[in-house]
Subunit: 427 residues, 2 copies
């Protein structure tokens, strides 16, 4: 650290981990630079509602600079990190290539989609990790309906089928929301189509949906999905995705022009360019203090990190782990500057929730407390509103959810095609 | 008309004119097909607020099919019209080329930007007639600020300057909103930049802004813009736009990387492909009944039409003209089917308004009633909320305006780049 200047903390990623770190460092004697490839924070848990036209794209994102309006100690840098110079303590970034010096570095770039090399997924399946990806799904699904309206018999050939691959919380939420969009909204929008013949199929490689949940929650979710009309295929692995079908390893071929891959995540590409030891899924290995071995100046938090869970495994890739990691690292940096010994990071599991559809969710709290149905659904709504960043987003989401609930409608079903977004490579 | 089947009305364009026609035809003994190249209606008067991050993109657009959920008589077709077969009474469209037959055709495709052949405008200036164009302006302005934050001295070279070309209502509203965005929001977002040195320049070829208004309103608007910090250049024609400057005919060169051209409109390209007589600005000539001479089966309404104003001129290209035209044509079609003689179209001028900024607008009603300031601004807000389509959009816009007013913030300042919108040419 340089004499006479403030300690420079740089965090890569303005997701849950990065924002939580920034909050924890409020008032600390450091300068914080937040680096992200987008100028906004994305509230990933609600991306599936953007994809299914329940929320507008602007409702689930918030400009990073806007969050830190009143923080003199926070600087934002729009850039993609391309590497680290460990000797100079500098981040390399794209664009004009002006590097970013740090005293302490926090890597919090999150996860991206893991296709596990399944043929055709990269080329023919949609992902759901970013706001543009969610908008692309919305555009594509609606465009499929417009195309089918010219050729109603194509519905029987699978023109409107959607195959959601991956039965985790995102897959369950997306499949349920798609089925509701089809039944409640698009069936009225397209009276010329027999929308009941548009299939939503959830494909899961293991024997159950909602793997991280308890057996009762899993079976509730599965039953609810089935009653809503989602076809659930368990023990079904995907062999290949083609432009007009998903091939399962068992031989079944599901005709579809809309395959959405939410079957796995891997560490953000950042993990591959920083020269640090990686483990399963590309995650960077860290110790109990969330630092990289031999690099006490580098912390890794959230989905990017493989952090020990204390029982021989690693912590799961969940928002609360990232949030608590950010808080811990903020406090650890302060303790170090004060000359105090850092503590170990201990993740406190407050429970998990997933929503299946209207009035239907599952919630599991510590000590075996479980509930599902409307109460869980209301709790889910409430918690997501609370965690949304910014009053405006909260108010907008509340308005839209109220509207959706009362009218059974989904308001944001626009096809805004990228090729119509105008010229952007002006100097 | 074919025996035993309902009269087929086809309207091209889901703007103010098309929607108003559909409303007027409710309950009539006709089948209505609405054709549009987008699946949504765009509320054009508020596009400038999307461009300046005051509203989200989804707030000012509404899916056409959603508007007519409960109307069995209305069909929607997503297509671009490429021509008319006048003998067969069929529209030709792009895509699979399936033509659309009509008994009565209503052309309501609106206007697009008219560059008047000024060099460089097509290549280097932004337009503001469509939702993607407004999003492109927002992306570009914010990206300029991000780039400048790496090189603060570039602000003095004009890196952040915006030149709005055209001092009509759109130009005045846009220039005012940009100045407010800069002063109230971006100056806090970018403390490293001297945002007071980012100029907003409004260039107008005539001797006054707000041409269609009375001299007192014009001078109020001009004074207000100046006090807000907008530089108003009157009697200033643009000679050329280059990637980094706007050249005026008088010789002045204004450095800018953001030129926005709102200096003129011309009829939508549709007018050029339908084989009907055109006049100034490409508009299609119609008579007092809004039909084309020799084509009683073809009506033209709104910005696409050159309709006689009764005093030797043509009606202006304003939303109320389109709305009243749609209502008139709907009633005329019904009268014809009932065997009654059509009436002449008479436009009733209810007045016009334009907003300059917070608490500042001008309003002019018939009989010389004029007012400006906060009262006019509140009236403007109220009327625009009223005319927005759909409860959800109204509620969202109300929430956002309330938020903007109370916090002096603009919430939707996201850079969502089209090249990140994912692959879309899947089959």
């Amino acid at each position: 650290m340089r004499d006479g200047e403030r300690h420079r903390v740089v965090v890569v990623g303005a997701g849950f981990g990065g924002l939580s770190l920034a909050k924890a460092l409020k008032g600390a004697d450091v300068d914080l630079t937040i680096v992200d490839r987008n100028n906004f924070h994305t509230f990933q848990p609600l991306l599936y509602q953007v994809a299914t036209a329940g929320l507008g794209a602007d409702d689930v994102a918030h400009a990073v600079r806007g969050i830190f309006h009143r923080r003199d100690d926070v600087t934002f840098r729009l850039a993609t990190v391309t590497g680290i110079d460990h000797d100079a303590h500098e981040l390399h970034v794209d664009g004009d290539g002006r590097s970013i010096p740090y005293d302490t570095l926090v890597l919090a770039a999150g996860a991206s989609t893991n296709t596990f090399g399944v043929p055709g997924v990269d080329e023919h399946a949609f992902a759901m990790k970013t706001l543009p990806e969610a908008i692309a799904v919305r555009n594509h699904v609606l465009a499929r309906f417009e195309a089918a309206s010219l050729d109603p018999s194509s519905v029987d050939d699978g023109a409107l089928n959607v195959v959601v691959i991956g039965g985790g919380p995102t897959g369950v939420e997306l499949a349920g929301a798609l089925r509701e969009l089809f039944s409640m909204v698009l069936s009225h929008d397209y009276p010329e189509l027999d929308v009941t013949r548009a299939r939503v199929i959830l494909v899961e490689a293991t024997g159950h949906v909602l793997g991280p949940f308890s057996p009762p929650s899993r079976s509730y979710a599965r039953g609810r999905l089935s009653r809503m009309g989602v076809e659930v295929r368990l023990d079904a692995a995907v062999a290949a995705v083609t432009p007009d079908a998903v091939h399962l390893t068992g031989g079944e071929v599901i005709p579809t022009r809309t395959a959405i891959w939410v079957a796995g995540v891997r560490a953000n590409r950042l993990a591959d360019v920083v020269g640090l030891p990686q483990t399963r899924g590309g995650r960077i290995e860290v110790g109990h203090d969330l630092t990289v071995a031999g690099h006490p100046e580098i912390f890794v938090i959230g989905d990017l990190a493989a952090a020990p869970d204390g029982t021989g495994g690693v912590l799961p890739q969940l928002a609360p782990v990232a949030i608590q990691g950010g808080t811990y690292v903020g406090h650890t940096i302060t303790r170090r500057l004060d000359g105090r010994r850092p503590r170990r990071f201990r993740y406190f599991d407050k429970g998990t929730m997933a929503t299946i559809g209207r009035d239907a969710a599952v919630a599991e709290l510590p000590h075996g407390i479980r509930f599902h149905g409307r109460l869980a659904w209301l709790a889910w709504l409430f918690l997501h509103l609370m965690y949304l960043v910014g009053f405006r987003n909260r108010a907008n989401v509340f308005v839209n959810w109220s509207y959706n609930y009362v009218t059974w409608d989904r308001g944001a079903r626009l096809i805004v095609r990228p090729d119509r977004l105008g010229e952007v490579d002006r100097p």
